[in-house]
């Protein structure tokens, strides 16, 4: 299963030219990639490094100057391959005068789906992306995140085998981001192949099996995420049920020195802002009507409990096993 090649690029090169054929920009230089069935593949790189260009080449929106892009074993310029592809553009380029239902119906028609199937899938997808409340509102009134959600629903209307996502998490709040990441993982569970590009590294790190790093149109790094990120010279450990003190530090240092290592850092972990945010929103849902109260005058902003984050009046109740 893992060795089925879904996407293959050979020596793929794209040079943007103006009308007279003069060279404007080499956006992609001799890219060689293979993407396998059932994996989540991440394209990484700074702005303008050629991520979107690569994706557009895979979709046949652009034609390569050299080399070729094969999708499902066929040239990317073939229209037929689109039947098995779902694509979420960088910004969701949808008709703003349609509402969510009409949008999904329209794209369903483009897949030549019969009416009952269109209705069924649209219903399911709207529920899945959480837009049931707003499905009759036109997209012009949607916020960026809502558009991203309907864009994703649109990309899944044909139950695709290959899903291509350009910046899937852009414009989404942390909950949306988490939801999107879970969804991408679910897609993999269903046996679909996902290609995504992003410069939010933590997103890529969380979901991708393999990544390619592009810079200035050239492939810099390619491989499995865990292998790439593994730092073989360092060891990390985590322990619970005790507080840090000098004695412990000394003992640990001693043990490490015995094995030829050196203690670099020891301390209490801080939770991520993401986790904090998620917890706050969750608690606010559980306790509607609560709101943040500014600390009383003269009161020190720091709470005595060092582990508790600042500015969360109801954090005390929720301080359980998180982190």
């Amino acid at each position: 299963m893992a060795n089925d090649v879904i996407v293959e690029t050979r020596n793929l090169t794209k040079i943007y030219r103006d009308f007279w054929g003069r060279q404007k920009k080499v956006a992609l230089r001799a890219l060689n990639l293979e993407i396998y069935r059932g994996e989540i593949f991440g394209l990484l790189g700074p702005n303008g490094s050629g991520k979107t260009t690569t994706i557009k080449l895979l979709l046949g929106l652009l034609f390569p100057n050299e080399g070729e892009a094969l999708v499902f074993g066929e040239p990317a310029t073939q229209v037929k391959k689109n039947e098995r592809i779902g694509y979420l553009p960088e910004e969701s380029y949808l008709y703003r005068f349609l509402n969510a239902e009409e949008t999904l119906d329209f794209y369903g028609r483009l897949f030549d789906l019969p009416a009952d199937q269109r209705r069924q899938r649209a219903q399911k997808l709207i529920d899945m992306v959480g837009l049931s409340q707003d499905k009759r509102r036109i997209l012009k009134e949607y916020s960026k995140g809502m558009r991203q959600r309907i864009g994703l629903a649109q990309a899944l209307i044909n139950d695709p085998d290959l899903v291509i996502l350009d910046e899937p998490t852009s414009g989404l709040d942390p909950i949306g981001t988490r939801w999107m990441k879970d969804l991408i993982l679910d897609l993999r569970k269903e046996g679909k192949t996902v290609i995504m590009c992003s410069h939010r590294l933590e997103d890529v790190q969380d979901v991708c099996d393999r990544i390619a790093i592009l810079n200035e149109g050239e492939l810099q790094e390619l491989g499995k995420v865990d292998v790439l990120l593994e730092d073989a010279n360092r060891v990390e450990m985590r322990a619970s049920g005790l507080r840090l003190n000098d004695e412990l530090r000394r003992d640990l240092d001693e043990v490490l020195q015995r094995y030829g290592g050196k203690l670099e850092f020891i301390g209490h972990p801080t939770t991520t802002l993401e986790d904090l945010f998620l917890r706050i929103v969750k608690e606010s849902k559980e306790h509607p009507g609560r709101r943040y109260l500014p600390p009383k005058e003269g009161e020190d902003k720091k709470t005595d409990d060092g582990e508790k984050p600042i500015g969360s009046p109801f954090a005390k109740e929720g301080a359980d096993a998180e982190g």
Partner: protein, 639 residues
């Protein structure tokens, strides 16, 4: 009363269709070849390209294209060698057919991948977009016309209907055309700019489906709009027109036209040669030959309407027209019987009451030849039968009509003398229906009817044109005809939409719109440009005229056949061919103007709509569709 149908150009007929198809093939073939060469060159120069079709089809296209190119080159060589050779046109034509086929092959292959559901979805999108963006509010501008136009329109009954119809059509036309052009020209460029196109072409949508869907959507939308506007206009015209005017022209005549011959036409040095003139001189007459007639044999009378121009050399009597003789002759008429006809006619006119005639006939029994008696008894019988049949209809000219019918039945001829003809007024004669009676003795190879017109008033000239006189086969509903007239405008809308969309697959919205409108305007003057290009002007093409100038040869004198003149004339013919090609790009918009028919109360024949309107338009638009296909297919959507 002002109902003359001035047709500057004869509408095409089914019989001319093969010739038109041939012209189309020759005109389109050269473009197809040029287009194919361009496509191949373009693709050779630009490495970044998508295939236009599957590899085998593309090979076939290239092969067929090269063969056609050779054929066309051969035709050129043949032409240079001997410009009169018959072979060259044959070789040329096959080259053209080959080129057209080569260009169409990729499209034909693509047709198999098209899905109606996708085209329909794209059409609906265009439709919804226009409605939700509230584009159609523009048409409220028409309300102004409806509200205020009647202040400026003339009241005189003979002009009223005409100006009403003309006004509403003139108000509708530019508005509909411009809105259709704007909608169509900006649709695909807007899709590209907002990148909504990206989402569409990454679905299994054929690029050609986008062109077709957009065309269909806007055509549907404009059809709906036009239908509503036309219905409103019709109500406006129907309510605004005064009853007297309605009586004259609020109908749709179905005319039967004949072919006009004018014997010894006079020149009065007037107008643009549309009419020919006759005087009272002997042998100076106009006659119409009717080659085909509907079945009139069951009718009591058949109305013949006419409207002539009078050119006066003397003042005549104020307010009076001039006098003419009209003769209707069928194949049953035998000119040897002219004497009998005249005598019988006199005799019957003198004894108009049939009973009286009967009594006279009885008393004169002995004095007449037996065959005269037989004949007159027959005539009297016919008159009585006619009277019995039309008992209830008590009209003043019933007796006259009975007499005319009896004579027509007997002789196959009807003559009306001293009919007063007025300038530019539609007048009529009721020809007797028995003229067209089937008696089984007519020789079938002669045309069924001649109508001869002579001028009786000396020193006056009577101007006639082919469409000035016609038989009225039927009168149909004005309302239906009003909508038929709207089809002309509808076809123009289709034209503008298709051209604008085809252009906008490559050009920006503004440019597409401007080019479309320029083509449209050029089309309005196409007739003029065409006459220049087709060498109907005297003095020949540019080189010939230059030669004549240099040699100081009068345009009417033929040039002597030196090699130089031959070369020059050859180059001129090539020039004319190039001009004709250039003209092929310009839409023949004027063709689709049917207002004249509606305004003057003439029915628009359905057959004519098909042959003279729909088919030329289809021929023209095929080219633009092909352009749209190739441009969008070879375009990088995201570049």
């Amino acid at each position: 009363m002002f109902a003359v149908l001035v047709i500057e150009r004869e509408p095409l007929t089914w019989a001319q269709l093969p010739g038109m198809v041939q012209l189309w093939i020759e005109g389109t073939g050269v473009y197809a070849m040029a287009g194919l060469v361009l496509v191949v060159l373009f693709r050779a120069l630009r490495p970044a390209n998508a295939p236009l079709c599957s590899a085998p089809i593309w090979k076939a296209t290239l092969f067929l294209g090269s063969v056609s190119l050779l054929l066309l080159a051969a035709a050129g060589v043949l032409y240079a060698a001997d410009s009169t050779s018959e072979n060259r046109s044959w070789v040329f034509r096959s080259g053209c057919i080959g080129a057209i086929t080569a260009v169409l092959l990729p499209i034909l292959e693509n047709l198999f991948s098209l899905r109606w559901r996708r085209i329909w979805a794209l059409a609906i999108i265009s439709f919804k977009e226009a409605i939700r963006r509230k584009v159609l509010w523009v048409f409220s501008a028409l309300a102004l016309v409806f509200l205020f136009a009647s202040w400026y329109l003339p009241y005189t009954p003979q002009y009223q209907l005409r100006s009403y119809v003309n006004t509403v059509y003139r108000a509708m036309t530019p508005l509909l055309i411009v809105v259709a052009g704007l909608l169509a020209a900006f649709s695909i460029p807007a899709d590209l700019r907002h990148q909504t196109m990206h989402t569409i072409v990454t679905k299994p949508v054929e690029r050609f489906e986008i062109v077709l869907g957009r065309c269909l959507g806007y055509i549907l939308l404009m059809t709906l709009v036009q239908f509503v506007i036309t219905a409103f206009s019709l109500v406006y015209v129907a309510r605004g027109v005064d009853p007297a005017a309605a009586e004259e022209s609020y109908k749709a005549r179905v005319p039967v036209f004949g072919e006009l011959t004018v014997e010894r036409a006079k020149s009065v040095g007037r107008e643009w040669g549309y009419r020919k003139y006759i005087t009272a001189e002997t042998g100076n007459r106009a006659f119409w030959v009717f080659h085909e007639l509907p079945d009139f044999s069951k009718r009591n009378s058949v109305r013949c309407e006419f409207e002539f121009d009078i050119f006066r050399t003397t003042k005549g009597v104020q307010g009076r027209g001039i006098y003419c003789t009209f003769v209707f002759e069928t194949p049953r008429w035998n000119s040897k019987r002219l004497n009998d006809y005249n005598i019988d006619r006199e005799w019957l006119s003198a004894n108009l009451s049939a009973r009286e005639a009967d009594v006279r006939a009885q008393s004169e029994r002995e004095r007449w030849f037996p065959e005269t008696l037989q004949r007159r008894l027959r005539l009297i019988q016919t008159i009585q039968a006619f009277r019995a049949q039309t008992e209830k209809r008590e009209t003043s000219d019933r007796d006259q009509l009975a007499l005319a019918n009896a004579l027509a039945d007997e002789y196959g001829r009807y003559e009306l003398r001293s009919k007063e003809v007025r300038d530019y007024h539609t007048l009529f004669i009721d020809a007797p229906g028995r003229l067209f009676a089937k008696k089984g003795d007519e020789t079938s190879d002669r045309p069924p009817l001649f109508v001869i017109v002579r001028c009786e008033s000396p020193t006056q000239y009577l101007g006639v044109a082919e469409h000035d006189l016609y038989l009225l086969a039927d009168e149909r509903s004005f309302e239906v005809n009003f909508f038929k007239g709207a089809i002309g405008l509808w076809l123009r809308i289709c034209l503008v939409i298709t051209v604008a969309i085809a252009l906008s697959t490559y050009l920006t919205g503004v440019i597409s719109f401007l080019v479309t409108m320029m083509l449209y305007l050029a089309g309005l003057t196409a007739n003029f440009i065409q006459s220049v290009a087709e060498g109907t002007i005297q003095g020949g093409g540019p080189l010939e005229s230059a030669l004549r100038l240099a040699k100081q040869v009068n345009p009417l004198v033929p040039l002597d056949q030196t090699p130089t003149t031959r070369l020059f004339l050859g180059v001129d013919e090539v020039f004319r061919f190039v001009m004709r090609l250039f003209l092929n790009v310009i839409p023949d918009v004027e063709r689709h103007d049917l207002t004249n028919y509606v305004a003057n109360g003439f029915d628009i024949p359905v057959g004519q709509l098909v042959v003279d309107n729909v088919m030329p338009l289809v021929g023209y638009l095929i080219g633009w569709m092909v352009v749209g296909f190739y441009l969008l297919k070879s375009r990088e959507i995201a570049a």
